[in-house]
Structure formats: structure tokens, C-alpha cells
Symmetry: C2
Subunit: 156 residues, 2 copies
DNA sequence: CGGATCTCAGATACACTGACATAA
DNA sequence: CTTATGTCAGTGTATCTGAGATCC
């Protein structure tokens, strides 16, 4: 272990923004999934619960659009959350194709739990950066994301 | 499509660095895999060829360490590259466990092709950012990555 | 009819795990 | 005996594709 003096990353890779992004995202993803797995949760759960908390009950298609989660995966994640009593799925009386997904009190409690855990994870992720640097990073990523979100026809 | 006025991202997510990182990485990853797939290549191929070009012939274990690719996957990717004649695998006379992997002239040509394609992809990825902003982003990500690389015992 | 919604079954890329034989 | 290497088979996850059923 410890791979000492392993700065053997090829310079062609080290300066490549797409490489830097995917590699840092890999660590971010690992921190998040590990941290959430300890309490039996997934990233999908937080995304869905946070959306339901902020916007109120929604159809699964709406949830997919807001969270960026694919239709198919909203189905499975909602099954999971409903199985734990964190959300309820009821048919929409005005449109019988739709399910209206609603967050329950237990779901709100769960959301608080996830929010706290995620706050600690952000701290770990951004440890080497100062507060203004963190803001700058968030600002740059936000602009990148906004740019690519537009004209993304593949989002459900 | 066009998902008009779809700023329906929950604020809890929109400001979360781990979310911003993984989402932008998702677009970066898509641009890269799509761009490389058009010419029948993968991200692994570029990582391996670039490493071989910069550091010269290496064992598969070394390649795994430098590129961050898992041992098992180095095997498969090397098979792939060798099948196309981009690298050659020869036994190490001084250590008969090892294969020495060497890039071929065809491999160098392939690497140039991939480098060009990736340059165009970076342009697309970073389109909304000015040159100094790109530098700032690269700097911040580099520091994040260096921090998490240390003490990462899971790397092969 | 076109178009939206939900569901399931499967594919893909990437990362990882475990096991094994071989050889240092 | 312990460690490093290469190989293979298989797991897991986030994402996406395609199909079908239902309903507006």
C-alpha cells in the first residue's frame, strides 16, 4: 500500500480536464456511496427525497426530469423508498397513467439524516480547498452544468 | 425536447459540490465515450497508449498503477490493443512473470488520432469558460485529486 | 392517431473482487 | 514462505436503450 512517490501520471492525462473531472468525480462518488451505504441509502434516494421535499408530490416522470434520473431507474428507486415507507405512491385521479409520489413524515426524517451525512461528506471532499476556492469551484461547475443541460435531448 | 424553463433542480442539490462534480463528469464522460466510440476506441485505450508513449515499455502492473486502471482491466484492454496491433506484448527475459508491453508505430498513430479527438472534446466540454477560468478549474481539480490520491489504498 | 406515462428486461462502461498459477 | 505478476471469471453500480402496456 501507500504507493510511495507515485506521481507517475502521464502529463497528457494530468492536464486533461475531462480526465480531472471524471477522476475527482470518482472520489466524490466513492465518498458519497460509502457514506450513504452505511445507513442503507443510495444517492438516488437523496435526490428523490430532496426533490419531493422542495417541490411537493410529483409524478415519476417529473421526478426523473428534475433529478436527472432515468425513468427506468426512478421506478426501481421509488419501489425501494416505498418499501421503507419513505414515500407513498398513489394513482392520479385526473390522469390514470400517473402515479403521484408523496414524501411521508418518515421520509422527511430520513432526508434530514441523509442531509447531515452529506454535509460531512462535502467537508471531506473539499478538505484541501479554502472557502472562497470552494465557492469558485461550485460556480465554475454550475456554469458548465447549465451549459450542457441545455440542448440535452437525452434527459427523460 | 429542449425542456423549456427546466430550472427545476432542487436547491439542495444545486449547491452540493459532490452532485455538481458527478453531474458534470457525467457529461464529460458521455462526450468522451461517444467521441471515442466513433472510431472504435475507449477511454482505457487512450490512458494506456499515452502512458506507454511517455514512459516507454512497461509491465502490465506498472501500467495499472500509472493509469489507475485495475489489473484485471489492464489485461482485457491490452488484449484489445494488441489485437489491433497498437501494442506488442513480449515476455520479460529478466522476470519471467512479466509481460513487457510496447507501443508500436501503428499505436503511436492511433494515439495521435485519439489526442486530436480528445482536444476537440475538451473544447466542447469547456465551451462556456474563458481561458483563465479553464486554468482555474484545472488547478482546483488537480489539488482535489492530489489530496484524495494520497492515502488511497485501493489503487492497484 | 400522436404523445405521455409507467414498467421491465437487458446492455454498457467502469471499477472492483476473488481465485489461481507462476515465478521472484 | 511471502510477495508480485498475469490471467480469468464474476460482481456491482450508474446510466441508458428498447420494448410493451396503458391512458390522455
Amino acid at each position: 500500500m501507500d504507493t510511495p512517490a507515485d506521481d507517475g501520471t502521464p502529463t497528457r492525462l494530468a492536464g486533461l480536464p475531462s480526465w480531472l473531472l471524471t477522476q475527482t468525480a470518482r472520489y466524490a462518488h466513492r465518498l458519497v456511496t460509502d457514506g450513504l451505504a452505511e445507513i442503507g441509502a443510495r444517492g438516488y434516494h437523496y435526490r428523490l427525497l430532496a426533490t419531493l421535499d422542495e417541490y411537493g408530490p410529483a409524478s415519476q416522470a417529473d421526478l426523473g426530469r428534475r433529478t436527472g434520473i432515468h425513468f427506468s431507474d426512478v421506478v426501481a428507486a421509488t419501489n425501494d423508498l416505498a418499501g421503507h415507507g419513505f414515500v407513498e405512491r398513489t394513482p392520479d385521479p385526473t390522469d390514470r397513467r400517473r402515479n403521484i409520489v408523496t414524501i411521508t413524515p418518515a421520509g422527511r426524517h430520513r432526508l434530514d439524516q441523509l442531509t447531515q451525512r452529506l454535509a460531512r461528506i462535502q467537508e471531506e471532499l473539499l478538505a484541501p480547498l479554502s472557502a472562497p476556492e470552494r465557492d469558485r469551484l461550485v460556480g465554475l461547475l454550475t456554469r458548465l452544468l447549465a451549459h450542457h443541460r441545455r440542448g440535452d435531448t437525452t434527459r427523460p
